[in-house]
């Protein structure tokens, strides 16, 4: 167990070091969410009530989808190059290699989420501390599940990586748009709402909006938590299996 913790710390240190050395990169990674936040937020102001209250949780879910995907991408790069192989020849614990990477992705995600919230405060975003904390906890759980899924995808895609690019490019954007992250789909036609209801991300976005509004007891919070747990459990089961089969 102690070697597991030590190995996790080693992998975490490796992964986080570039971000610590060049923190400006974190801001660049946030370019798209920030653009969406300020562009759509300003355009939609008044159309969906207080647009910032509605928009900030959506942007956070969006980052929670793209961040873990990026974690899978860095694993893929290491798998295609020789650095993953180099670490597999060391006595490091295999699971620690993925846990350390997931932890790094979560730290980055939390830092970015806090930054978004701080930036939105002067624009009229109202802070409900308990709801925000619960919302962030849900995002971390979702991020761990998605991160594990993206690691599995990266491992299955090596050595050429085509599968990874196809799935992330084809799946990610529709998943986002059809969850109502950027635009409300409740007002859309019936078929769109049906698709929205089949998308687990929809429930998580709705739950996040309720939590960020300070409404901890809304039914959507329950559905969102359930969807998050499903993603997390599926991700961890598949991730664990992929690791045991060997990278």
């Amino acid at each position: 167990m102690t070697t597991f913790l030590r190995d996790t710390a080693t992998v975490f240190t490796r992964e986080i070091t570039p971000a610590v050395r060049e923190p400006v990169g974190l801001l660049f990674d946030m370019g798209q969410p920030l653009l969406f936040l300020f562009l759509f937020g300003s355009l939609l102001d008044g159309a969906v009530g207080s647009s910032w209250q509605w928009f900030v949780p959506g942007i956070l879910v969006m980052m929670c989808l793209s961040g873990p995907m990026a974690a899978g991408y860095t694993l893929l790069v290491d798998l295609i190059g020789g650095s993953m192989e180099r670490m597999l020849v060391t006595p490091m614990n295999r699971t620690a290699m993925l846990v350390g990477r997931t932890m790094k992705a979560m730290v980055i995600l939390l830092a970015q989420a806090v930054l978004i919230i701080v930036l939105a405060l002067p624009l009229g975003f109202q802070l409900h501390p308990a709801g925000v904390l619960a919302g962030l906890a849900m995002l971390v759980a979702l991020g761990i599940g998605l991160g594990a899924l993206s690691f599995v995808l990266a491992i299955k895609s090596a050595p050429d990586g085509t599968l990874f690019y196809i799935v992330t490019q084809v799946l990610l954007f529709p998943l986002l748009l059809l969850s109502g992250v950027l635009l409300p789909i409740d007002a859309g036609p019936g078929w769109l709402r049906v698709i929205g209801h089949l998308n687990p991300i929809t429930y998580i976005v709705d739950a996040q909006r309720a939590l960020f509004a300070g409404d901890l007891t809304a039914p959507s919070v329950l559905y969102g938590t359930a969807a998050t747990l499903v993603v997390a459990v599926v991700g961890l089961v598949l991730g664990n299996r992929a690791m045991r089969q060997g990278v």
């Binding site: 080693t10 240190t13 490796r14 790069v77 020789g82 650095s83 192989e85 180099r86 020849v89």
Partner: protein, 313 residues
């Protein structure tokens, strides 16, 4: 250091069975420098990946650095170093950072890992490049960094998979200077694969030749060449007719006015051969003797040349 018995690896590709490695027996003692030589697809890398625990064997056993690769992979890993074919340092990471992390991956404390990293950067002439990312390094510099990563925990045994492939001749010579220097400094047992004949010939104390997943020759380069190939005598004559006569006398082959024959010891055989030619009325215009290469050894064993690129896998 390495004891393999009947080591086998079978791959299943699209319902077809590919026998990459077909029952290898191999013993490498401590302190040796062994070159594992063979054409592309011969099974060199697959064997290396089994010996380094990256790939489970489908048959046979291997004990590496005192532990079985199948039963105690972690103990094997702790005692060996491995320099793979691809660049070992991550693109997004600085050279020294990667070295320190690698040291910690082997259980060194942070300060000890830093000391070792600096020592190796120094030893491999990478000191000024410590803060650079691999993308900004030359091919030879990257390879030296790979070797440093493989040595951070001072393993007794270092595996190198094609350490000099893809480098220009000068960088290749430079890598070898460093490999030999490290060996002197740490007394590491070295096991490396290569398809460069000259390298195996000049650097290794022992050459193991693999073809089609089987070991077909094993010994010092000089032994292999003496036992399996022999020297070559080449003479030229003025006419093709004379060349044919000369070939017949020496039991060789004529090609135009050039005659080639294989003999055990060319220095001793040449004067005798020239006298025989003179007696038959054939005048040799030029005569030279060449020592065999490992390629001649491979040619004798397989009927193919190692330098042919289109050798079937």
């Amino acid at each position: 250091m390495i004891h393999a018995r009947g080591l086998t690896r079978v791959f299943k590709v699209k319902k077809q069975t590919v026998e990459a490695v077909r029952g290898i027996d191999l013993d490498v003692e401590s302190g040796q420098l062994v070159a594992f030589l063979g054409p592309n697809g011969a099974g060199k890398s697959t064997t290396l990946r089994m010996l380094t625990t990256l790939l489970p064997p489908t048959g046979g056993t291997a004990t590496v650095a005192g532990h079985d690769v199948g039963r105690e992979p972690a103990k094997v890993r702790a005692r060996i170093g491995y320099v793979g074919q691809k660049s070992s340092a991550g693109e997004n990471f600085r050279a020294r950072d990667e070295l320190v992390i690698q040291g910690r991956a082997y259980g060194l404390g942070t300060s000890q890992a830093r000391e070792r990293a600096d020592e190796l950067l120094d030893l491999l002439d990478l000191g000024p490049l410590a803060q650079r990312k691999p993308g900004t390094l030359s091919g030879g510099q990257r390879r030296r960094l790979d070797i440093a990563l493989g040595l951070i925990h001072r393993p007794d045994l270092l595996f190198l998979d094609e350490p000099s492939t893809g480098l220009d001749p000068q960088s290749r010579a430079d890598i070898w200077t460093h490999i030999l220097r490290l060996r002197e400094a740490y007394g590491t047992t070295l096991f490396l694969t290569t398809h460069y004949l000259e390298e195996a010939d000049s650097m290794a104390e022992r050459v193991v030749i693999i073809d089609n997943g089987r070991i077909i020759a094993d010994g010092t380069a000089a032994q292999l060449k003496n036992d399996l190939a022999g020297d070559q005598i080449t003479i030229t004559t003025d006419t093709e007719q004379e060349a044919e006569t000369a070939a017949r006398i020496g039991d060789g082959t004529a090609e135009g006015t050039t005659v080639r024959l294989r003999v055990g010891n060319a220095a001793a055989a040449l004067p005798e051969y020239l006298r025989a030619l003179e007696a038959a009325g054939v005048k040799a215009a030029t005569a030279e003797t060449t020592r065999p290469t490992l390629d001649d050894v491979f040619l004798t064993l397989t009927g193919r040349s190692l330098t042919d690129d289109d050798i079937p896998a």
